[in-house]
């Protein structure tokens, strides 16, 4: 049986996740339980959602450097307005998604580099977050907390959530016609345009969907932490980009994989736990995390080359 190139792309992230998981289980057998798995992976759920958001932006050949501050901002909204007056909270979050769609339009119409626009927006989101919560605080809405701490039978909620996120975004991005068009913008914008589609609207749709998943990331994060502060998710910018790449996505060409992105986010989270179980000193941990990334990426390059050689033959 011949594997499709998409499946081959998924092999490396899935295999690296499995290897890391086996290593963690070996070092810490306690993790091999319902609560253990939940503790290992529950903080990966918001990262996975942010990674999906980043992936949508990357599928139209853009990059979002405001992901971390935007998720922090939505976390602050969740811990304040969404909790005290849900109607206003939903309105603000909807407004934030609309702002994302507008960003997509501006970037396209004015032909601006997305990196510059989103970098600028990161200060706007950061400022708004500080305005909302000048000092750490707020509280998670009851229903959010309930979802994130739910105890479904057999499989912990962190795994259930990851599977749902992967499956639904796979349908949305890989199977729906909108998803195909958005990836088409990344792959060959001109041919999509010639076929009669409006690139502006497609880009706006991609950005709006990204905003939607980033909002979900903020809500999920507050569900886990029970409260927010303005700097809570700053790391998510780089984590989300690393997650997409780790999961087999690429910076250009509309080549992305939602299932891979979720696996990438889980792998990144697990790598942190792995290093902590190894008792590696914190001075080396960031470096070691980078080393894991490089090893996985090197493996992928190697596979890509194999794939090309197969094609040439």
């Amino acid at each position: 049986m011949k594997l499709s190139s998409g499946a081959i792309r998924l092999v490396i992230p899935a295999a690296s996740l499995a290897v890391l998981l086996a290593a963690v289980f070996y070092m810490q057998p306690r993790a091999m339980s319902y609560t253990g798995l939940n503790l290992l992976f529950n903080l990966a759920v918001p990262i996975a959602l942010a990674t999906i958001a980043q992936m949508l932006i990357m599928s139209v050949n853009d990059l979002d450097l405001s992901m971390g501050t935007f998720v922090s901002f939505t976390a602050c909204v969740t811990a304040t307005f969404l909790q005290s007056s849900p109607a206003i909270g939903i309105l603000i979050l909807a407004g934030a998604i609309a702002a994302y769609a507008a960003l997509g339009v501006i970037i396209h119409v004015r032909q601006l580099p997305s990196i510059v626009v989103t970098l600028g927006m990161s200060f706007v989101w950061g400022g708004l977050a500080v305005l909302l919560l000048p000092s750490p605080g707020g509280a998670a809405p009851g229903w959010v907390r309930w979802i994130m701490t739910a105890k479904p039978p057999l499989v912990p909620v962190a795994i259930v959530a990851s599977v749902i996120i992967a499956a639904s975004t796979h349908l949305l991005v890989m199977r729906s016609s909108l998803g195909v068009l958005i990836r088409g913008v990344g792959g060959n914008q001109r041919s999509v345009e010639r076929a009669g589609w409006s690139i502006v609207w497609l880009r706006a749709a991609a950005y709006a969907m990204a905003g939607f998943f980033a909002v979900l990331a903020g809500i999920a994060l507050v569900g886990l932490t029970t409260s927010a502060d303005a700097n809570i998710a700053l790391r998510y910018t780089l984590l989300s980009i690393a997650g997409v790449i780790l999961g087999g996505g690429e910076f250009v060409g509309g080549r992305v994989s939602p299932i891979g992105a979720v696996i990438g986010a889980l792998t990144l989270t697990l790598a942190g736990s792995f290093l902590s179980f190894m008792r590696i000193s914190p001075d080396w941990q960031i470096g070691a995390q980078g080393a894991i990334l490089i090893v996985v990426l090197a493996l992928r390059l190697f596979l890509n080359r194999l794939e090309k050689r197969e094609k040439n033959r």
Binding site: L39, P136, L221, T225, D229, S273
Partner: protein, 338 residues
């Protein structure tokens, strides 16, 4: 005969075992330190103190292990993940210096639900199931005015150097100073600047406000800013006021120089980085089954004219004056708050 031998042996064994069993309640317990930041002299001293005291405790068999973990980045999400890992590693107690008072509450709750004792100190957490060892920063501010009231009963103008705006510690020390001034109306705060707990920032800020100020009798501070203030006064050729210091080595050294040269008098107050060891003993006591109140206050470390030399000698260059706590100190703190 054999029975007699067995009896003797068991008695001997009982004697040998007795001293160990005094602390055997926690001999198999493992305590972890979860720390969010290690990038300044205070935190380094905190980790060194932890290392020193807990190593002794482990060697004596009081606890089985006391490992310190510091997150690679000062982020609440990182520390939450770290705490969840510590739960998985099966520690019996986790001592936390938290990156955020609220954002770790989810992870802390998970730890409590797993039956783990959580003790937070310095950067405390609000989750009700955790213990808190807080510093009474308000009393620390008030003590400065009380000292000044004793030293100069006639009162005078004060310059207040505050810390980093928007941080709760700054608000609390400031509230203490305000309360002190209200009680001693002979003092008047004529100026206030933010020194950000850093000598260079404090020096700039004080130099900027000095020309607009009348004669200053004393400067009330928050620590880490006294030396900078002194430099600013000296540069402006103004009479040197009584500057309350904050236990930093450069402040103490300057104070010593002035004391030797012209009998300069002041006091110095801050919290000791060794508070991590107090948290360690409190966690050990809780594991030992002691009934400990959820909110404890740690005494702050004060240096006066008489013990300046001794404290300066024991403080590392560029460091902070420190004390490490013993089991007895911890029991005293627990007892005082009961």
């Amino acid at each position: 005969m054999t029975i007699k031998k067995m009896l003797l042996a068991s008695i001997a064994l009982a004697f040998v075992a007795a001293p160990i069993s005094a602390s055997a309640e926690t001999a198999d317990k493992r305590i972890a330190l979860s720390n969010n930041y290690a990038g300044n002299s205070w935190r380094q001293a905190m980790l060194t103190s932890w290392d020193k005291i807990t190593k002794e405790a482990v060697n004596e068999g009081t606890v089985a292990a006391a490992d310190a973990f510091t997150t690679a980045e000062n982020q609440a999400t990182e520390q939450a993940a770290q705490i969840q890992n510590l739960i998985l590693q099966g520690y019996d107690a986790i001592v936390v210096n938290a990156a955020s008072p609220t954002a770790l509450n989810g992870a802390i709750k998970e730890a409590c639900d797993a039956g783990i004792v959580v003790v937070s100190f310095d950067g405390i957490v609000t989750e009700p199931c955790a213990w808190r060892i807080a510093v009474d920063f308000k009393a620390m501010g008030e003590s400065q005015i009380e000292y000044l009231a004793k030293k100069m009963p006639e009162g005078g103008n004060l310059l207040e150097i505050r810390g980093l705006a928007g941080v709760s510690v700054d608000d609390e020390i400031h509230a203490g100073i305000q309360a002190g001034v209200e009680k001693n109306p002979q003092f008047k705060i004529v100026g206030s600047v933010n020194g950000d707990w850093a000598q260079d920032v404090a020096q700039r800020a004080v130099a900027g406000i000095l020309p607009s100020l009348p004669e200053i009798a004393a400067v009330v501070t928050q620590g880490g800013d006294g030396y900078g203030a002194a430099q600013a006064f000296a540069a402006a050729n103004r009479p040197m006021p009584t500057i309350v210091m904050g236990n930093r080595e450069d402040e103490l050294r300057w104070w010593k120089e002035q004391k030797d040269a012209n009998g300069y008098e002041t006091m110095s107050v801050s919290i000791a980085p060794g508070v991590s060891t107090l948290a360690f003993w409190v966690a050990q006591q809780i594991l030992d089954g002691k009934d400990v109140k959820k909110d404890l206050t740690v005494p702050f470390l004060r240096i006066d004219q008489e013990n300046l030399e001794a404290n300066l000698e024991s403080t590392e260059k560029g460091g902070v004056a420190n004390v490490e706590y013993s089991l007895e100190d911890a029991q005293k703190v627990i007892g005082a708050d009961m």
